[in-house]
Symmetry: C2
Subunit: 767 residues, 2 copies
């Protein structure tokens, strides 16, 4: 009875707190369920997860609806009806699954730790749930597990997940700990395999253990320390299909435990689980440093407060839906890269040794082929300290690995996608003057990564042929185009550091894209070593991931990729008129592309917003004198290809890139070349935006007549003066300028059409 | 010309040194090629390797004749005609292959790093060789690589391998570095897979790198630092089937390098390679601490000197062949366990963290099912410091893993074979008073390992049924018998520590073997949970490795396994007469056993000296009053089942156990119960033996009339007094006693036949 009163009080207090939270300014707009489901079976989920995480936090504690997650890679599909448990690490928005460490699941009644038919129904503790009885907001996730009548609530600190399970009265209440939960090992996906794992009973309220696992990340060591608020009656453990038995330690490759309690009605059992990629000792230390007691509300509030602070860096006004999309996007953009260092700075280096980061942080989850485009420019603008830390981490990979990250997961290279797009990220940050980066050392890493043959980057052939021959390396057109862009970045960084010889060398390589332009077809096309064009050529035909010769795209999509020199691309294509006509065709050619890769979706003609190769293309009309068409297509994407539903993204959210596209574009500008200090102007859809800058200034955007139908810019003022350029610069932003748009339903075909208005710039624009 | 003179001088000096080595007392008898080949395709190789190692050293640098070694597990088969290279880590005498890290191979002419048909002829740098042009002795291995006319010489320190390659004149001289060489990955053997690897060019004479590999050991990290005495002209590197190219770093899962030189005729290129299981930094440190310069001869001499010191602990006289077998046996027994700690004490714990050993050593390669029988008692006697260090390592496994090692490789449990035979090893060492062991902590580990269900050890069933039911755990008869023995050891240790309750508990369990004795057949047989005997029963029928219900043996062989209480076994079998008659049958029953496991060989009737279950059986006649039959069979094994050929062992040498059997037995005694301080007397075949004891005393054995035909003991004196017991005790040895035998061609059927003469002893014999 007394307990019930306490519980009632707790619930009331929770409710009061929840109401308080409702009054906060920014976190209320974050809807973590956006991006958690595909709209239909032919499209991809955003692949976001709904559970709590700190901004850039290591622990990302979230429900998994899949036993052996594959697609969506986040482990949670909004369309699923059951939950298998709550694991502590996830990827947000990726196309490939991994992590899912240390799964907990409460249950009541008879438990089957390892039911016979492992393939079909591995988890004997799965429960149905309903979105009606599910809550997700920054720092908090709640769901009713209907099969057991258990309410599960989750929150997190940087290294610790906190669970609050409210049980029914039962002599058979359990919390399952599953150290075998992972991406699908059974079908050899990414050759995933648990190499070793352990669970140890330390005392009647503490478990510890670890698993060593190879998967998409080649080797992850995951150590945990778990404390329970209520002493358990018994712990049964099993490895694989062994019979669960009462032991104090179990080693194996598929270890699980059932932690058993007797519970009264509405009794709450809290669990806190700290994780470390280094050791059990470090997991203990992480918990001791972050979560002293059992105050779930406090931990949840701290997490929400951290988000409030981060989200508050950009204050926007617009419709409720726009604000929900915007702030959820910012939330997703700040969900990674993740700090992989323990609280003392220990981290696992690429050579699998444990090292200590002098700045106590070591970030990973660098989906660079996606995020160099707009997510990193967003970090440069809003997270300069973290940008520097990201780059310091990348340079540490160079130290042990010999070159910069391509796709870095859990501190390890997985070579997903193409290019060396740590280079634009570093170049952008150094040229924009982000403090805390050793530019000389960073340049050493950039240059080595541009000279050392490595998987996907055959520089010897690059220099010999002036393009990547398809018979040397597949995806050759995409690699050629992106490598030329990266080389342009190296050249800019060399110039900045006064390395003229290097500048000359790399600026020459940055024009190699020209060698794959076929003037007869008007497309970038693949060639072999012998110089012959690959044939037959069909500009509609898709290459898959690793495809030939275009990466997850067709010729139509990749042919626009010369962000370092759009004027030259226009020239190659025969001038403004031809270029514009070709863009028109691109956006209107309805012919179904052949063998479309699953990542391509959100089609407007051949434009596919669901994948990154298209992301800059709508802005290219700015470069050829028809900015109203940029405005048309950008606003079309903003209004039609984003919404607040579970399928609110046009495809995988891609670690912040899909969100960053929205964040920039909704404010009215976008970094077509992510490293030249220039943002092309599109079509702002918000009423206003204000970016709180690290220098204390605020950059403001005000939009008159904002509205779905008013997609066209009528006029622009910068700091009160009429502004006719179709771009702004980094300096405009950092000076705390005010950018004012007047929008209308009809295109103003004179604004921004002059040659001088174009967002050109062969080098970094520093004015 | 000048170079030739220097070379001539070097060769002469080598020859002088070699002659000096010939004058040393003990190393001259070691023939590392013993045990390196099987006599025919139906038998197993000793699986020893011929290359140099320090006693108990980490680096075991040896030629590999196999691309993807499997059988023999040492990688070298004397019957092979070609060598693929020289790798730095090996196992000696095991039945399963692993290690083979950091393979170097010199060659000249065109090189194929990765020839097309990877399966058939993976190595494009393989060379023929001939035993005529091959030398192996402690601290030195030499072979002429005939295809290239390159003389290869090897030596080693604890953590560093040193290579001296003498090249012909060639503009295309190479040294291949292969980081992909391993046990057979292609057929998924032990799921072997390289998870990650790197080679880095540090400067024109230094390479560094690592590989992370899963195989028989679940996860090994192998870091190297390599220095070349001659700057190389170029380095080409490849990953898998990629084209070798000139880069300064390569990462991948199958990385190789060709290090290229121009050489003059007879030019020597030296390479030293330090290895660490912890980090490249530690590998560098290991080399700096052990090998400062390029003095190959000095390193080789130091290695030989270390062996001389270790081998000199037992001085024996006998025929040349006996001394060669004996000292090669001692060499093989001291080849492992291996110190896995770097010179600063860093090591990888079972939880894959790096820890530091306070005593700066951490041993592994514990093939305990083999070695607890005689190899560890040999270490207890001759290597007390290392015995303590072995046990400290085992206790450290308990600390992180929850129980003691079963088969520990590279610091990791692989659960090979059965039982928990760290327990007799610890019990033996503690009861014999070896210093440097925390007995209380060791007992904690021993008890936990005897109470905690773990793979192969279902103690809950053990306590419930009083035997291991075959329908709960296969190999149930073997496990029951060996578990009962281990329990006897726990009881003795409990008694020693005054834990009476524990003594009572475990001494009761130690009699559980009785529950599997079927008086109707006179054999230990398997039962299911329901208590019924498994049927049909055929005492000849073999179980394989993991076999049912006998491990690598049949009922005939396992039925003799009650070393803790042979008198009770005699009683079970109906007394001395029946017991002796059954032993007679055992040694004479020529019926071919069914489905013989490959490990069984060296048959005398059903006795199979090639595998461990038989090892104590010939000594059992001592216990039933007919010691002359022990003498007959022991001398028969000594004389017929060991020789100095490449197939000098009757099967796998098993990490020193086959050798330890010979070492004890040739001196005239053997620890039937490895942990009760008693050695049963057999038939000495040496003229004399003297064990230099750690307490400064010397235990001596003198044998009058030693000779192949004089296999029978006529009389014995201990310290000058007539001695009629068929056993001696640990105290007899440690007191520096002198044991004198008079041998003859006819059995003395009165000596040692009295009841009081029998090597009984229910507890540790401390007199």
């Amino acid at each position: 009875m007394k307990r019930s009163i306490i519980l009632l009080f707790t619930f009331c207090w929770s409710w009061v707190l929840a109401q308080n939270n409702q009054q906060t300014k920014f976190v209320q707009y974050v809807k973590p369920l956006i991006g958690t489901g595909a709209v239909d079976t032919n499209s991809l989920s955003g692949s976001n997860f709904p559970g709590p995480t700190m901004p850039f936090g290591f622990i990302q504690l979230s429900p998994d609806t899949r036993d052996a997650p594959d697609d969506p890679a986040s482990g949670y599909d909004y369309n699923d009806k059951t939950i298998v448990g709550f694991s502590h690490t996830h990827l947000s928005g990726t196309g490939v699954a991994d992590l899912f460490d240390v799964l907990l699941m409460p249950s009541a009644g008879e438990i089957k730790l390892n039911p016979g038919n492992a393939k079909v129904n591995r988890s004997g503790y799965r429960s149905s749930f309903s979105h009606d009885q599910e809550t997700a907001r920054p720092g908090y996730y709640q769901v009713l597990l209907k099969d057991y009548g258990i309410n599960a609530e989750l929150t997190a600190t940087g290294h610790t997940g906190m669970h609050r399970y409210t049980f029914p009265a039962s002599k058979q209440s359990h919390i399952v700990l599953d150290m075998d939960h992972s991406l699908d090992k059974k079908r050899g996906y990414w050759e995933c395999r648990v190499i070793g794992a352990e669970i140890k009973v330390i005392n009647n309220h503490t478990l510890e253990g670890y698993r060593i696992i190879t998967g998409w990340a080649s080797l992850r060591k995951v150590y945990f320390h778990a404390e329970f608020s209520k002493p358990f009656d018994s712990v049964l453990m099993a490895n694989g299909n062994s019979k669960p038995h009462a032991v104090n330690v179990i080693n194996g490759t598929a270890v699980k435990a059932a932690i058993n309690f007797s519970t009264t009605d509405q009794e709450q059992v809290l669990v806190k689980v700290a994780v470390s990629p280094v050791s059990i000792e470090n997991a203990r230390m992480n918990m001791a440093s972050e979560v002293a007691g059992w105050d779930f509300e406090q931990v949840s509030r701290q997490c929400a407060d951290s988000w409030e602070k981060e989200l508050g860096k950009i204050k926007v006004e617009g419709t409720l839906e726009q604000k929900q999309i915007f702030y959820t996007g910012l939330y997703h953009a700040f969900t990674q890269p993740n700090n992989m260092a323990d609280v003392n700075g220990d981290y696992q280096a690429t050579d699998m040794t444990i090292r200590n980061a002098p700045d106590k942080v070591q970030y990973s989850t660098f989906s660079l082929w996606d995020t160099y485009r707009a997510a990193h420019p967003l970090y440069t603008l809003t997270q300069p300290e973290k940008s520097a830390a990201f780059i310091n981490t990348m340079v540490r990979q160079y130290d042990t690995y010999g070159y910069l990250p391509i796709w870095q997961l859990w501190g390890e290279e997985n070579y997903c996608m193409i290019g060396n797009h740590a280079i634009p990220v570093i170049t952008d940050a150094v040229l924009k003057g982000i403090p805390g980066i050793d530019a000389g050392k960073a340049y050493e890493a950039v240059k080595a990564s541009s000279m050392t043959d490595h998987p996907g980057s055959p520089f010897t052939a690059w220099e010999k042929y002036g393009y990547i021959p398809e018979d040397i390396e597949s995806q050759s057109v995409s690699i050629t185009l992106e490598m030329a862009y990266d080389d342009w970045c190296v050249a800019q960084l060399a110039k900045k550091l006064g390395k003229t010889e290097d500048y000359d060398y790399f600026i020459k390589r940055s024009a190699f894209y020209q060698n794959l332009y076929n003037p007869k077809t008007g497309f970038f096309q693949g060639r072999n070593k012998d110089g012959k064009w690959l044939s037959p050529f069909d500009p509609l035909s898709y290459g898959g991931n690793g495809g030939s010769p275009y990466t997850e795209a067709n010729a139509w999509q990749y042919t626009w990729y010369v962000p370092q020199n759009v004027p030259d691309l226009i020239k190659l294509m025969g001038g403004d008129k031809n270029f514009t006509a070709k863009l028109d065709s691109f956006f209107t050619l309805a012919n179904k592309p052949g063998n479309v890769n699953g990542n391509a979706s959100g089609f407007i003609g051949q434009y596919a917003h669901g994948n990154e190769p298209s992301h800059h293309i709508a802005y290219l009309y700015d470069y050829s004198g028809q900015p109203w068409k940029t405005q048309y297509y950008v606003s079309k994407v903003l209004n039609e290809l984003y919404d607040t539903s579970s399928s609110g993204y046009a495809g995988n959210e891609d670690c912040g890139q899909m969100s960053a596209w929205y964040i920039f574009s909704a404010m009215g500008f976008y970094p077509v070349n992510p490293a030249n200090g220039v943002y092309a102007i599109g079509s702002p859809i918000l009423k206003s935006a204000a970016i709180r800058l690290p220098n204390g200034k605020t950059f403001k955007v005000n939009v008159e007549n904002a509205g779905t139908l008013n997609r066209y810019i009528q006029s622009v003022k910068l700091n009160g003066r009429t502004y006719n350029k179709t771009y702004i610069t980094q300096n405009d932003i950092m000076n705390g300028s005010t950018l004012e748009f007047i929008m209308g339903a009809k295109p103003n075909k004179t604004w921004g059409t002059q040659a001088a208005a174009r967002p050109a710039g062969w080098g970094y624009i520093n004015n």
